[in-house]
C-alpha cells in the first residue's frame, strides 16, 4: 500500500522575542497553535493527534510538556507524543507528525515546538557538573569555533565569509515580521567590527536567545483538498543520528548529515539539489555553518560551499536563497528552531512567505541538526503533490 501523501495546510508562529513575560509556556504554545489552526481554517475538533517537541528538559527545569500542555493544545482525549532530539527536535517532531499521517494512523495532526529561553538556562543545562569529568573550558561558542577553524583550514575559505552570512541573514530577518532580531541599521562593517568572542566566531555571527513557538497542521490528500490556501506537499523526509564523539567523526561534514540529505533527495527524486531546489532553510547557529552545510547537504562540492556564499548565490535574490526568513542567526527558540526551518520552507512553496518570499519557489528544503552534530532531520516540500 502506498503512503498517504502529506500536506502542510496550516502554519503559525509567535513573534519571536528575547522574553515573553506576559504569557505562561502554555500561553506561548497556544498562540502558535491557534494561528496554525486559523491558517488552515480548522478547529480543535479537526485535530486527531498532537506531536510536540522542545529542547532537553534541563533547559527549563524538570517539566513534562506533553502532560502540562495537553489542555492548551487541545490534546485532551487524543494521542499526544513528545519528541526529544536536542536542537534538531523541531525538525524531527514535524517528521514524526508527518509519518503518522503518511502511515494513515491519523488524518490530521497538529505539531508544535517551542522554547522559552528567557525562563531557561541552556548553557547550564548543557554543562552539568558531572563528577570526575573535565569541564568544558569554553562557553557555548567554544564548542563550535574549533570546527569552524577546521573548515577554514580544510577549504581555504577567506575570513570574511562568516560575516557575509550574518549580514545576509540579519537583512533577511528585516523582511520577516516573526523574526526576533530586527537590526534596522545593520551593515557589513558592523558585523565585521563586532567583538571576536571565540576566534574565529564573532558576536554578530552567533544566534540570539529567543522565546517562541512554531506550529503546523499536517494532513493527507482529503484534508489538502479542503485547504483554503495552497498546501505544501512533503516530497521527502529523513532523520539520521550518530554518536557525539567517535574516532573518525567528521565535525565539519558529519556522515549522518550527508546520509540524511541523500535519503531525502532519493525520496523526492532530486538528482541535482543546487538546480532543483529553490530555497533552503538550514540550521545555522553560527554563521560559518552555512558554507559547511552547503557542502554537507550536497549543494556544493567539498571545499566549495564558501564560494556560493561569497558569490551571493545564497542571498534572497541569488539562485539558491538560504534562510530567507533570517534563519537561526536571527531567531533561536532552541526547541522550535528546527520546526521554524521546516515551516519556513513550507511557506515558501505555498507562496505565503510575504516579503521574504522567493519568487516562484516550487521546492524548498528544511534542515535541522542538534546535539554535538549528533541528530539530523530534514524535509523537502513542494508546491505540487508528489507523483508516484
Amino acid at each position: 500500500m502506498n503512503k498517504e501523501p502529506v500536506a502542510v495546510v496550516g502554519i503559525g508562529q509567535t513573534k519571536h522575542v528575547a522574553a515573553r513575560h506576559d504569557v505562561s509556556i502554555a500561553g506561548l504554545v497556544r498562540e502558535a497553535a491557534v494561528r496554525a489552526l486559523a491558517d488552515a481554517e480548522l478547529t480543535w475538533a479537526d485535530i486527531d493527534a498532537v506531536v510536540i517537541g522542545k529542547a532537553p528538559d534541563f533547559f527549563e527545569g524538570v517539566m513534562m510538556p506533553e502532560l502540562y500542555l495537553a489542555d492548551a493544545l487541545g490534546a485532551v482525549g487524543k494521542p499526544m507524543l513528545r519528541v526529544h532530539t536536542a536542537g534538531s527536535v523541531g525538525g524531527s517532531t514535524a517528521l514524526v507528525a508527518a509519518n503518522l499521517v503518511a502511515a494513515r494512523v491519523h488524518r490530521t495532526v497538529l505539531t508544535l515546538a517551542f522554547e522559552k529561553q528567557s525562563e531557561s538556562n541552556a548553557m547550564w543545562g548543557l554543562s552539568l557538573p558531572v563528577p570526575f569529568q573535565q569541564p568544558l573550558l569554553a562557553g557555548a561558542g567554544g564548542f563550535f569555533a574549533p570546527h569552524v577553524r577546521a573548515y577554514m583550514r580544510r577549504t581555504g575559505a577567506p575570513d570574511a565569509v562568516g560575516s557575509l552570512v550574518a549580514y545576509k541573514d540579519r537583512r533577511n530577518a528585516l523582511k520577516n515580521p516573526y523574526a526576533h532580531l530586527h537590526e534596522h541599521d545593520i551593515t557589513l562593517e558592523k558585523v565585521q567590527a563586532s567583538p571576536m568572542l571565540w576566534d574565529p566566531i564573532r558576536y554578530s555571527e552567533t544566534c540570539p536567545s529567543s522565546d517562541g513557538a512554531c506550529a503546523m497542521v499536517l494532513t493527507g490528500r482529503a484534508g489538502a483538498a479542503r485547504s483554503p490556501k495552497p498546501p505544501a506537499w512533503v516530497h521527502g523526509g529523513a532523520m539520521r543520528s550518530e554518536p557525539t564523539l567517535f574516532a573518525g567523526k567528521d565535525f565539519v561534514s558529519p556522515q549522518a548529515g550527508r546520509d540524511c540529505a541523500a535519503d531525502v533527495y532519493r525520496q523526492a527524486g532530486i538528482t541535482d539539489p543546487r538546480r532543483e531546489i529553490d530555497a533552503v532553510e538550514m540550521y545555522v547557529p553560527f554563521s560559518w555553518y552555512e558554507p559547511m552545510w552547503l557542502e554537507n547537504l550536497g549543494f556544493a562540492e567539498e571545499g566549495e560551499g564558501w564560494k556560493l556564499t561569497e558569490a551571493g548565490v545564497t542571498e534572497l535574490d541569488g539562485d539558491l536563497p538560504v534562510n530567507p526568513s533570517g534563519g537561526v542567526l536571527s531567531t533561536n527558540p532552541i526547541g522550535a528552531s528546527g520546526m521554524i526551518r521546516f515551516a519556513e520552507a513550507a511557506l515558501q512553496v505555498r507562496g505565503q512567505a510575504g516579503e521574504h518570499q522567493v519568487p516562484g519557489a516550487r521546492r524548498a528544503m528544511g534542515h535541522a541538526y542538534g546535539g554535538g552534530a549528533q541528530f539530523f532531520a530534514m524535509w523537502l516540500v513542494g508546491a505540487q503533490e508528489p507523483t508516484g
Binding site: 485532551v76 570526575f132 573535565q134 562557553g139 567554544g142 577546521a150 571576536m196 568572542l197 567517535f246 574516532a247
Partner: protein
C-alpha cells in the same frame, strides 16, 4: 596490557539544581496573587464546573477560559496518602498526609499537604481548611498546609471575581534540585585512576583498533566492548582550536586563552585542553604539545609546546 580484575568503580554525588523562573500569564498570575491575599480563585469551565487551581484552557473543549470565581478556604478530602518520612523542602517537616481537597464551591480537587497527627486521623470525606502561611509572596506555599476543620460545608458556592489585585504577581522562581549518585563506570574509573599517576590511558577497540581516550567501555562505531588498555601521549598535536575572548561563568581563566582539541600520540580521537606556555596568537593547528600537571589537579592544567616541529596536516587531518 589487558584489563586486570576491575577495581572499585568510582561513585560520587551529583546535585543538579537551578532556580528556574516562570511567567504566570493571566490565570495562574491571578491565582497566586489571590493566595497572597488569602483568596482562593478557580475558573469556570465551559460545562459550568469550577476548576481549582484554575487552568488557562478548558479541559474539555480546549477553549480559552477566563471567568474567575472565588471559592472557600474550606473543603473536603477526596483522597489521600500518608507520608511517613517527609523529604527536605516538602510542605511539612513532620509526617503528614498528601491530600486532594475539593474546596467548597469547587468541582475539582487541589493537591496539598494535611497536618494531622497520624494516618488514623485522616479519611476521605474529612473536612479541612487552609492554614495560611504567615508570610505570603504569591506562591502555592502561601497555603502552608491544610488542617482538620469540623465546620460543615458552606452553601455559598463560588462567587464571581475579577482577578484584579494590587501588585499582581507575574512570575515565580521554581527551585529545581535533583540528587543523583553518579558513577563513571569501569572504563572511566580506570582512566581517572591512571590520571592520578599522571598517565593517560585509553582503551582499544578490538574491531577497528582505534584507541578511545577517555574510554567509555565500548566502541561507539563497532558496538563492542573495549578491553585492551593503552597508554597514549604524553605528547600530542593540536588539531584545531579557538581563542576564547570572553570569560565563561564558573571558569577562573584569564582571557584570552586558547581552547584546543589535542590528539595525543596513539589516540584515535582528540580530547580538549587549554594551551599555555606560548602567546595565544601563536598557537596553530599542528602545534606539538605536552601536558603540564599541577599539584592536586585531576587533569593536566594545560598543555605546552614541546618544541618539536609542527605536525604535518596530512598526519592529523583525520583526527580533527
Amino acid at each position: 596490557m589487558t584489563a586486570a580484575s576491575p577495581p572499585e568503580v568510582l561513585r560520587a554525588p551529583l546535585v543538579v539544581e537551578f532556580p528556574f523562573t516562570r511567567s504566570l500569564g493571566p490565570v495562574q498570575g491571578a491565582f497566586l496573587t489571590g493566595l497572597r491575599e488569602r483568596v482562593v480563585l478557580g475558573v469556570k469551565a465551559s460545562d459550568g464546573r469550577v476548576v481549582v487551581p484554575p487552568v488557562e484552557y478548558d479541559p474539555v473543549t480546549s477553549e480559552e477560559v477566563r471567568e474567575l470565581v472565588e471559592v472557600a478556604a474550606t473543603g473536603t478530602v477526596t483522597t489521600w496518602a500518608w507520608n511517613d518520612r517527609p523529604r527536605p523542602n516538602q510542605p511539612l517537616g513532620t509526617p503528614f498526609a498528601w491530600v486532594l481537597v475539593k474546596l467548597d464551591g469547587a468541582d475539582t480537587a487541589l493537591l496539598h499537604a494535611l497536618d494531622a497527627p497520624g494516618p488514623d486521623a485522616v479519611h476521605t470525606g474529612l473536612r479541612v481548611r487552609v492554614r495560611w502561611a504567615a508570610e505570603r509572596t504569591g506562591a502555592i506555599t502561601d497555603i502552608a498546609c491544610f488542617e482538620p476543620d469540623e465546620t460543615p460545608a458552606a452553601a455559598t458556592g463560588a462567587t464571581p471575581h475579577d482577578g484584579v489585585f494590587q501588585d499582581a504577581v507575574t512570575g515565580i522562581v521554581a527551585e529545581a534540585r535533583l540528587d543523583y549518585v553518579y558513577s563513571p563506570g569501569r572504563a572511566q574509573t580506570a582512566y581517572i585512576n591512571a590520571l592520578s599517576q599522571r598517565r593517560i590511558v585509553g582503551e582499544r577497540c578490538p574491531s577497528c583498533h582505534k584507541v578511545y581516550v577517555p574510554p567509555r567501555g565500548a566502541c561507539p562505531t563497532c558496538g563492542v566492548a573495549t578491553t585492551d588498555r593503552v597508554e597514549v601521549g604524553p605528547a600530542g598535536t593540536v588539531t584545531t582550536f579557538c581563542i576564547v575572548n570572553i570569560k565563561a561563568k564558573n571558569l577562573d581563566i584569564d582571557v584570552p586563552y586558547v581552547y584546543a582539541h589535542i590528539a595525543l600520540d596513539g589516540a584515535g580521537l582528540a580530547l580538549h585542553g587549554r594551551i599555555g606556555g606560548i602567546p595565544y596568537d601563536q598557537v596553530r593547528m599542528g602545534l606539538r604539545v605536552e601536558p603540564v600537571w599541577t599539584e592536586g589537579g585531576r587533569y593536566p592544567d594545560h598543555y605546552r609546546p614541546t618544541g618539536e616541529p609542527d605536525a604535518d596536516y596530512e598526519a592529523y587531518k583525520e583526527l580533527i
